[in-house]
Each structure stands twice: as C-alpha cells, then as structure tokens.
Symmetry: C2
C-alpha cells in the first residue's frame, strides 16, 4: 500500500511488570517495578517496532495500604524522571508522561515537560489528568479530594497557564550573537501575567520554546466535562472502550465536538486501549491469559474493582455475591462505574469474577488470539472509525510487548496500516500533528 494511506498509531503502555495485576507472579516476569533495565528493554523493543510513543500512567499515592492489595502496583518510577532517563537510551520514540493538574503547580509542570522536550529532541507528550482520590489529596495538604466540576475548572485553567508558559519565547528569540553580546531579542519574550480563578503566574518560563513548539497534550477523560475539555485542548485521547459500537459512538461524538472549537478532525487522535495477548493459536493465547488470571487473588481483584468504581471499599461484600449497588459518586468515574455495572449484568458475574475479570484487561478492549485475529480486529476498529490508533497494553513486560512487536506489528505493516520506518523525528511528526504556532508572536 502507498505511504499516503491513513496510518494507524501505536502507543506502548508501560506499567511496571505489565498491565495484568498478577503479572509480577509470572515466572518470566522480573518482579521489581523499580528495575530500570526492564523499562529500557521495553522502550527499545517498542522503538524497533516503530511505535509512536511510550505511555506512562501515574498516581500520587499508595493505594495498596489496604491489607488486601499486596500487588506490585504500590511503588514505581515517577514518570518525568523515568522518561528523561529513557530519552537517552532511545532516539525516535515519543515519551508520554502523566502529570496531574489537581496538585501540581503549572510553572513546574510546564518547565519539566519543556525541559524534557529539549532533552529528547521533541518527543514529549503530557497526559493531562485530574485526581479524584482522597488518598492523593491527603498527600497534598487536603483532607478531601476536589469535586468533579472544580477539578475540571482547575484543569482547564492549568492547561491555559502551561501552554501560555510554553509560548514565553518566540521560536527565534535566541540570537546568541557572540560579537554584539546580545543573547536574546527582548522583543521576543512574552510575560504571561496570568491572573485567574485558581492561579496567578507571571512567567516567563525559564526554558526556551521547545522543539515541538509545545509538547503534545494527551487526555483520557470520558465524562461530558472531560470530553468538552478534550475537544477544546487535547491532541490525543486515550480511552477505554469495550465494544466496536461503543468505540464508534465515542469517536463520532468526540470528533463531532471539534468544529465548535475551530479544530479539524485530524488535530485530535483517538487511541483506545487494547489489551493484547498473542498466541500461535487462539487456544494458546487463551491458555496464556488464563495462566495470568489464575494468579489473581480474588481480594486483589475486588480491591482494584473498588478503586476503579470510585474508591469504594468492597472487602465486606461476599465474593460469590453480586456487585453491590453503589451510590453514584462525584468522582469523575461515573462513566466507568456504569460500564462495569453493565458488564457484570450482561455476563452475570459475581463480585469475585468481576474483580478477576477487571484485573485482566482493566476494563479495556481485550484481544486474545493469533496475530492475524488481532490484526483483523485492530483493522476493523481503525477502518470502522472507532480509532485512529491504539494504546497497546500487554499482560507482562517485557515479554508481552516483544510478542506484539514481533508478531502483530509485522502483520499490520504487511497490510499497509503501519509504518516500517519513522518518517519524522518528533512525536508530533509521528502522530501527524501540526506544530502549534506561537500566538504571542504572529
């Protein structure tokens, strides 16, 4: 196929030990979530397969201090330091790090991402999230987390400050004229002087405008407010979708919102998560997956479920009973709660079964099969306008990623759906996103 055909995008979701909650118990998996060599290996596998980016999620608390949750999810690298380290052991692949707008300061976030964009030669993305857990609030001088509306208002303003700071300097501000002694042109420096509801930030940023102009802005919100924020400000949306029909509806809805913000469809890439287990036969793939599932202790799955549903403690409910009715929370996880309640109902799962089920794919679209079967599914979603690409979640690292990279990626390449070589150098170039103009300097 010609290179000009629409190409799908691939992100590799890196989570210590792997996406499956019990991955660390698997004999092939290095069980230390703070072993940098595993990340290095995974990053290099993804880069060799020409992935667009590495994604790293984040929380700002330990959720595992409930006794049931003795999982490998309690400790991990902080995303910005991790990606800065990965930037020197890779050359082309994008580096997307999560940073919350609920507890950080925009100057610091703008600065660290801009610094990393310079360090990496323009390969950085910021996954802008809000935080909704009391345990996180309590690490940042608050007793309770902020309500959904306030969190999103703060996030919207936070984004405005960060992007304004990224535009502190014109692209050609730095003359570095040794003869005259003029290092920069003072007419090409913009002092933001932001004074808003949540933040007062003078600026300018002490980092030059970065190689990409601005790091790529990524989001994952799926509530009404989250979709509006994404339609206005996101360039990539990472989303959990469990069926083609739902994914198509989400895709159409989000792309349909872009027009009112003066944006065209291509300026936002939608990348659902795809939890992938590859086998030489479908049976082998299923057996692989079941081997992971058997390693999940029921109470670990249920604790994870409680967290996903909005920080409920479900440990008092019987494992063989139904998912209890839970109050609708103001936690921004309403849409996820609805999804999981529907899933339990549709498949008649007990609480314990649902927990184990969630522990596997974590509510993401699950693809368990041969390379051909997986490529068929990805192609159907991609061509059916359910996705512009996928964030690939593998059960265990680095092996699961290596299987996807060496078995599924070549199949996507043969079908002309995915690049064989990087065309550009920056994450924006990989994703086909324009370099933003600096609005302060025509």
């Amino acid at each position: 196929m010609a290179n000009s055909a629409r190409q799908l995008r691939l992100g590799a979701f890196l989570m210590a030990t792997g996406h499956h909650i019990a991955a660390w118990r698997h004999p092939d998996v290095p069980a230390d979530p703070l072993d940098f060599s595993v990340y290095r290996r995974a990053a290099q596998i993804a880069e060799a397969a020409r992935f667009d980016a590495l994604f790293v999620a984040d929380s700002v608390a330990v959720f595992g201090d409930e006794p049931a949750s003795h999982t490998a999810r309690s400790v991990y690298f902080e995303p910005l330091t991790l990606h800065a380290a990965l930037s020197t052991v890779t050359e082309r692949i994008g580096l997307v790090a999560t940073a919350t707008t609920t507890y950080n300061e925009p100057y610091q976030v703008a600065r660290q991402f801009a610094s990393l964009d310079h360090l990496s030669g323009g390969r950085v993305g910021w996954n802008l999230v809000t935080s909704d857990a009391a345990l996180e609030a309590q690490n940042f001088n608050r007793d309770e987390h902020l309500g959904h509306a306030e969190r999103y208002a703060r996030a919207r303003e936070f984004h405005r400050v960060v992007t304004g700071l990224w535009d502190s300097w014109a692209d050609d501000a730095f003359l570095r004229d040794k003869a005259s002694g003029q290092f920069y042109d003072p007419g090409k420096l913009h002092v933001l002087n932001h004074r808003g509801e949540h933040f007062k930030v003078r600026g300018p940023l002490n980092v030059a405008r970065s190689p990409q102009g601005r790091p790529v802005v990524v989001q994952a919100g799926s509530s009404e407010t989250g979709r509006e924020l994404a339609a206005e400000t996101a360039e990539v949306v990472f989303t959990a979708q469990t069926s083609l029909t739902n994914a198509q509806a989400f895709y159409a809805d989000l792309k349909g919102r872009l027009g009112k913000f003066g944006r065209d469809e291509d300026s936002l890439k939608i990348m659902p998560g795809a939890f992938v287990v590859v086998g030489q036969s479908e049976t082998e793939a299923r057996e692989k997956f079941e081997a992971f599932q058997e390693l999940v202790e029921p109470q670990v799955g249920v604790a994870l479920l409680g967290r996903m549903l909005g920080n409920f403690d479900l440990s008092e409910y019987p494992l063989d009973g139904p998912l209890p009715e839970l109050p609708l929370t103001d936690s921004g996880q309403r849409s996820r709660q609805q999804l999981l309640t529907e899933l339990a109902g549709a498949e008649n799962l007990t609480l314990g079964q649902l927990g184990r089920r969630i522990a596997g794919g974590r509510g993401h679209y699950s693809l368990i099969g041969t390379p051909t079967q997986i490529a068929d599914e990805l192609q159907a979603w991609f061509e059916g306008r359910a996705a512009d690409g996928f964030n690939v979640l593998v059960p265990h690292l680095p092996t699961g990623l290596e299987e996807f990279a060496t078995q599924v990626v070549p199949e996507l390449q043969r079908r002309g759906l995915f690049r064989r070589e990087y065309e550009g150098r920056t994450l924006r170039e990989h994703l086909g996103l324009a370099r933003p103009k600096n609005p302060f300097f025509g």
Copy 2:
C-alpha cells in the same frame, strides 16, 4: 600515600555554557544552554576524573527580562530531568540537583528524588534551598516572596516531611514472593501522617526506600538560621568563601554546631566553591581570565550584582561611582551583601568594576594559575581545616572542566589527596557518609 589518609571531595558545578557570565561569548563555547551534548560531555569528563558529584543550581524564574541582562542565564534545563538523563550516560558519579522548599510540594520532591536515586543506582543528592525573589514568588501564586524566618521554618518542616516519606518502607519491605502472592510485608510500611504548621501529608511514598536509604541532603545557607538548619539536617554544605581565614572560621563554626544535634564532624562535608582558571603559566592563566572579563558588558555585571545583593535594581547608579549604600534586606542574602560591600571597600572598586569582578567568580574563591599553584591552594585549605573538598566552578564548559580534570586532578592524585578510582558505587560511599537507618523500623 595510603588510601586511608583523609581524601578531599570534588564536585563539578555544571552551569550552562560555564560559570563565567560571559562564557557563551567565548569562541570555544557552545552558546546553546539547552544542548544536552555539552552536559553529557562535561559529566563524562568529571566521571573520568573521579569527581564525587555533579552539582546543578536552579531558579524558578527568568531574571533576565530586565533589558540589561541579555545573558545565557535566562533558559536552562530543569535539574531533575537533566540529571535523570545524565544518569544513563554515566555510571558512578553523584548527581546533585537543586529544588526549592519555598514553592514545591514535599510529596513531589520526595518522590522525584527517590525515583532518581533508584534510576541512578544510588547516586543522588538534593540541594535543599529556599527562594527569596519576588519574580519567583510571582510564578507560584504569590505577589511577594516569603520572609526569611518563614522561609526557613517552612524549609525545616519540608525536610522533615521529605525524609519521613523517604522512610515510608523498610529496606526489606518487598518480599516479591511469587508463590504466596505477597508482594510486600504490610508490617513494613509506615504511614507518615504528618500534620504540621505548613504541611499536611499522609504518605506513604509510592517509591520504595532508595538505594542510599535517603538521597544525600546538600545545603548552601550561610546566615545564622541557615547554619543552624545545616548543622541539624545537611550532609554537604556548599559555601562561598573568599579567604582562607574566613573559610576556616566558617568551617569551625559549622562543625562546632554539630554536637548539639548529636552528630559527629564527619557526618557533614564542607565544600567551598572554587572558581578555577588553569594555565601553563600564571601569566597564561591571567590572560585567559582577562579574555573572559573583557566579554562582560558592564550593565550585565551590575544587573547580576544587584540580584546577588538581594534583588536590587542598580541600573540607575553611575558605573564609575561607588557601590551605593543599600538597605539591609530580609532576603537571606545579608551575609552575601556584607561580603560584597567589604570587597568593594577593600579594593576600592567602582560599581562597574565590582559588577565585572562578580561576573567572573560570583563571589567565590578564585584560583587563577598553574596546576601546581592551584593544587597548593586547594591543599592548604583542605589541610588547614577550611574545607573537606571543593565545588569546582569553571569559566566555560566543557573546556574549562577538561583543563581542571586533566591538569589539576592528576596533581592532587600524585599528592595522595584525591582518589584514582572510585571505591564505592553510591554518592554516600564516595563522600564517606553513612547510609541512614530507617527510624520507623528499628
């Protein structure tokens, strides 16, 4: 000499383009402060010479937006992302990054340093500073900077929270028992529950106790309050001293304060800054230095002087007049103000001359001479109990560092004052500092 003799410690102070304010104008100097390859080269030079650590200073504002200050100091890498990148291109050398306690959140600081300590295999130090500039305050939701006393009270509490978070997990908390499914021992997790004057932080930290137990704590305060904080909490003190006598007095004073905190003398290393220009003859070294000095525009020197004296705008005063009398500020820079006023008086310098003088060594001890002369001076300070080692500041990077590393370091090694090989792996081991016990777990 035997290895057991007291050894001096060396830090390499990395500042984009070099320590001399006009370094960027020098024909040999890469004038882009955001060129990672210069830092990589400097780091590798320092490591090959067996330096203990790389030091990186920091501010959280652009001070150069006054028209006079068209210097290369306006933009630079953020220290934590820079050091994370350097951690993968070096193997042994320590990595000391500055982070302010005045605007950051302790959970974030604890986390990023702990993450970097894991990434680097135990090579990290935290240079704990307070911030005293209105331009910095204005980037963090404040109109004015905090007063000296409040800044230090906040710093003290910040340190307590950060070290408490670093001790969230016992060193042997992580069982990673694949058979039983027990990832960690819940009895080896400490929830900090800090509730103080400035911070409420629950914990625990979502990073395991780091290879060094705790990153090394570095400070640079020289006021009475600063010395008390250092005597209680610092493991390395970086200080600006301009004469052997003053340095000896500072050394004796600070070491003398350790006893009341139950600390022994060796638990705190005092490392004055040494601004070094090396030549084959003294004349050559002087000429080298003068070549830099001639590149300083007088108003740039005066603007820098104004900032060092406590954020005064001196641009209205005549360059050929005296240093004006300035009010004593509550900026924590009183001691520096006194030092500079004395220097101007003693050498009868005009404002312009003082500015240019400051632009060179920045108030640090200046050594301009042959390798033998420089080694003699360093040895005299070291043996005269004025220093446990030095933070080496070179006029230009990477060349100035290379000259020191290849000409002065071998002379120090010949004299038995400095290591020829690293004895240990961690920064603590290089510096001869004990690994702190975790007080929450016996």
